[in-house]
């Protein structure tokens, strides 16, 4: 895939690296015992440590460390058995300590890889530079009072994993695929719930442009974009802006920018000159974070099957195409659903039903797999009804429509609506005889060698039986009667 921005002086390539903040799934905060529960009243999940009371000290939450290691393993990354927490110093009202405890030169996780599943079924590897643990800040609310800002410290101190990609991304679509895949991985692992709209996953994009083959250009960082779609839009808009600036004789200034999705533009937030000097240094309140191989291998044992492995297995064991397998593993719930449907059945047939019919219907109704009115068990039963010739494929589609609407059991629906396939030879024979009697000329055409006309007869018989006749039997019996 070759994506370029056509400028007035020629084509430009874009170079993107993403920094994603993933809120760690844990009961309590990174360095305090306060709850991480989302949606509680402001300033109710705040310990003395979170409020930075004098003399309070951080103690690292082992569960958050395990979650970071687990995520690192999921990203096929190097786990650093010794890492160091550092203070990032800056003043802000929602940062009670006056510094954020983060990791700087010694992160807990080093280089890794994410395999992107592109819409055309191809894949691309994007490097992970690092993953580090850090505290989240509180929340400033500027719309609660005409004069004062309000601060909610519930989020202050919640553990984040900052996952930094290499500048390997070359198109907005790849950025989208990267976020989709990263989200899938952390959700599979249960280390982050990945809800960008709730802020539990947040993305900063570093964007630069260059003429193909040239060194990297100066980058701008677009802060805190809150959906995958907006990230893709922001990258494209920012890249176009940069091309215009450069082609207009200007220079790109390294700076932090904000994406305004309403106006569809990025605008400067602070320039490099205004950038903070964070004065990172190792936090003297915390010892270096050290663990052994056994700690890592314990976590390794808990790793679930991840999207890439699952995809490979679906292709290998169920004969699915890369595309279908990719669609199914994109969300763990979808893959789980599919596996229930495919269990003991034809994997490809199951994939077709799940992807084409079910996902199609869910998309139309704008509901997620978790809220699917059709349970995996019932969809499986429906496929069984086709396989054992209880109903035809065409009838099955009607039954499926009813299932989507009512959530009902396909066996009962078939029973109640009398949709069972007619396999009684007598009934089918009667129907065939009627059609043959009414169309002697067409019978003759077949006998004269126009075999293709047989299909027309099948259609007529199916029509007269309301679609319930077994098509295979109809075919065979017509053949016997006409061609004898």
């Amino acid at each position: 895939m070759s994506y370029v921005i056509e400028g007035s002086t020629g084509p430009w390539e874009i170079v993107v690296g993403l920094e994603v903040h993933c809120q760690v799934v844990s009961q309590s905060k990174l360095f305090s015992g306060a709850s991480t529960k989302f949606g509680n009243d402001p300033n109710t999940n705040v310990s003395l440590v979170d409020a930075a009371m004098p003399g309070m000290l951080p103690v690292v939450n082992a569960e958050c460390v395990r979650q970071a290691v687990k995520t690192g393993l999921g990203l096929k990354a190097k786990i650093n058995k010794e890492s160091v927490f550092a203070r990032k110093n800056y003043f802000y009202a929602d940062l009670p300590q006056g510094y954020q405890i983060s990791q700087f030169d010694k992160p807990i996780v080093g280089e890794g890889t994410i395999i992107l599943d592109m819409p055309d079924g191809s894949t691309k590897a994007v490097g992970i530079e690092r993953l580090h643990l850090e505290q989240d800040a509180g929340k400033s609310m500027h719309d609660q009072d005409p004069k004062y800002s309000h601060i909610d410290l519930n989020r202050s101190g919640v553990a984040l994993m900052e996952i930094v990609s290499m500048p390997d991304i070359r198109t907005p679509e790849e950025a989208g695929a990267y976020l989709t895949k990263l989200r899938a991985i952390v959700r599979y692992l249960g280390t982050c719930d990945g809800n960008m709209n709730e802020g539990s996953m947040r993305c900063d994009a570093n964007v630069s442009v260059r003429r193909p083959g040239e060194p990297f250009g100066t980058r701008c960082e677009i802060k805190n974009v809150n959906s995958i779609r907006f990230v893709m839009q922001a990258i494209e808009i920012e890249a176009k802006r940069q091309v215009e600036v450069i082609e207009g004789g200007g220079e790109i200034v390294q700076e932090t920018r904000l994406y305004d999705q309403r106006l569809g533009e990025t605008r400067s937030m602070r320039s490099k000159e205004m950038a903070h000097d964070y004065r990172y240094f190792p936090d003297p309140d915390l010892l270096p974070l050290v663990f052994d191989d056994a700690f890592v291998s314990e976590i390794e044992k808990e790793l679930p099957e991840l999207p890439d492995e699952k995809k490979a297995r679906f292709m290998r064991e169920n004969g699915l195409s890369a595309y279908d397998a990719g669609v199914l593993v994109a969300e763990k719930e979808k893959a789980d659903y599919y596996e229930v449907v495919a269990n003991g059945r034809d994997g490809k047939l199951a994939a077709n039903w799940v992807i084409t019919n079910l996902f199609g219907a869910l998309n139309k109704a704008e509901v997620g797999i978790a809220d699917s009115p059709v349970s995996a068990e019932n969809l499986g039963k429906l496929i069984d009804l086709i396989s054992d010739d209880t109903i035809s494929g065409r009838i099955a589609k009607d039954v499926f429509e009813i299932m989507i609407e009512t959530g009902g059991d396909p066996e009962k629906i078939v029973e109640e609506k009398g949709l069972k396939q007619i396999t009684d030879t007598g009934a089918i024979e009667t129907a065939i005889d009627e059609v043959i009697a009414a169309n002697p000329d067409k019978v003759q055409e077949i006998r004269d060698g126009k075999d293709r006309m047989l299909g027309w007869f099948v259609g007529q018989v199916m029509k007269s039986t309301g679609g319930k006749a077994n098509p295979g039997m109809v075919n065979q019996m017509l053949r016997d009667k006409i061609l004898g």
Partner: protein, 492 residues
Amino acid sequence: MTDLTNLTLAEARDGLAKGEYSSVELTEAHLKSMEAHRNLNAYITETPEKAIEMAKASDAKRAKGEAGKMEGLPIAVKDLFCTEGVQTTAASHILEGFKPEYESTVTRNLFDNGAVMLGKANLDEFAMGSSNTSSYYGNVINPWKDKSGKDLVPGGSSGGSAAAVAANMALAATGTDTGGSIRQPASYCGIVGLKPTYGRCSRWGIVAFASSLDQAGPMTKTVRDAAIMLGSMAGHDAKDSTSAPMAVPDFEAALTGDIRGMKIGIPKEYRVDGMPEEISKLWDDGVAMLRDAGAEVVDVSLPHTKYALGTYYIVAPAEASSNLARYDGLRYGQRVMDDGDSLDDMYMKSRAAGFGKEVQRRIMIGTYVLSAGYYDAYYNKALKVRRRIYEDFANAFGTVDTILAPTAPSAAFAIGENEGDPVKMYLNDVFTVPASLAGLPGLSLPTGLSSEGLPLGLQLIGKPFDEETVLRVGGVLEGAANFTAKPSGLEG
């Protein structure tokens, strides 16, 4: 009845046990002494009601046969320890009126062991200083006077604690030591001060100055008292990640009085140019006393000593600049803000009004040494030198059991002296800072008087978590020096 304030901690403990007097009587005697010597300004906050209440409770506990190791013993608490419901200022304007809703682990341990709090002792603002002149609540006056009779500094930063113990305004006091803040004022006030190994006492609930150096310890009248009190202060605390998960030994049991065959190191680098004759002599006398007691005296080398002060004055301000960022006027303490001010205005006004000059100076130094472009030249290099200093000690302790050196380069100086010259002021810490950087235990005890009649201290530096050896040797030195002089500046 003799004046109960003349008692040592050990004597008072034994007297209480024998029922010679009650904790209430002991406490009242000290409250009276506090009143009598209020001119020394040793306390920022006196808590007489709380003290009597605690003493009564203690007497009741004892009556039930549940006496703890510090049962009924009235002490002063440096106003750097957060005390539940009692104003905790760190001697700073910025924390004026701050009443913590929590009790520091060290004071909690002491109170659980029965100690009675008399009040919160004065100190240098945020423990930054060697003279106790940087306190927002006024300087402390040393109970000792030189021949001229002018007011002298008690040393710092635990100057209020030292003065309170020296003037019998408390049986003992808690101190904290970052670069010498227990040992130097102990030396200036003629008392015993023990900085334990970093990690021995929990830092939880102590207002932080420099987190990698801060360590709480006892300030007492005798070595035995220090051993008793440390036993109640120390212990692993899961709330402090740098607290050592080690059992607390019976420190008092270490005072066997027998140091025969022990090796005492004398670091040649501490014999600095221009060391006053009387300090040299004090040191030599100490060496002789230990030799007479059967110890072997060995010369050792700590080659990086000369870099210690510079290293300290990079590391400590760097950490302080970050630790003090939380005093921003938002959640507690002083806020200075005018109508229409921005957040940055509030920060600047609150911090400018709330912090004194020395604190501001150290915040600026610390901010500078951590800044982009200077970090490697200053902070990073300081960390490397700090490592070398630690290795110096580790090498020396390969051959010796403890190291003997002077605590401070001089006796107490006059209030106002050195004020215009921060570097000269910082030189007071030259002998205490190396052990702080190495995290080692250091015990200062008075062993002689200067020509001006002022107390002078020697310090013993020990191996990590070997306070026992330091206390044992200290006990022997204390006995040999037989320092009995009393503060000359006390009226009445």
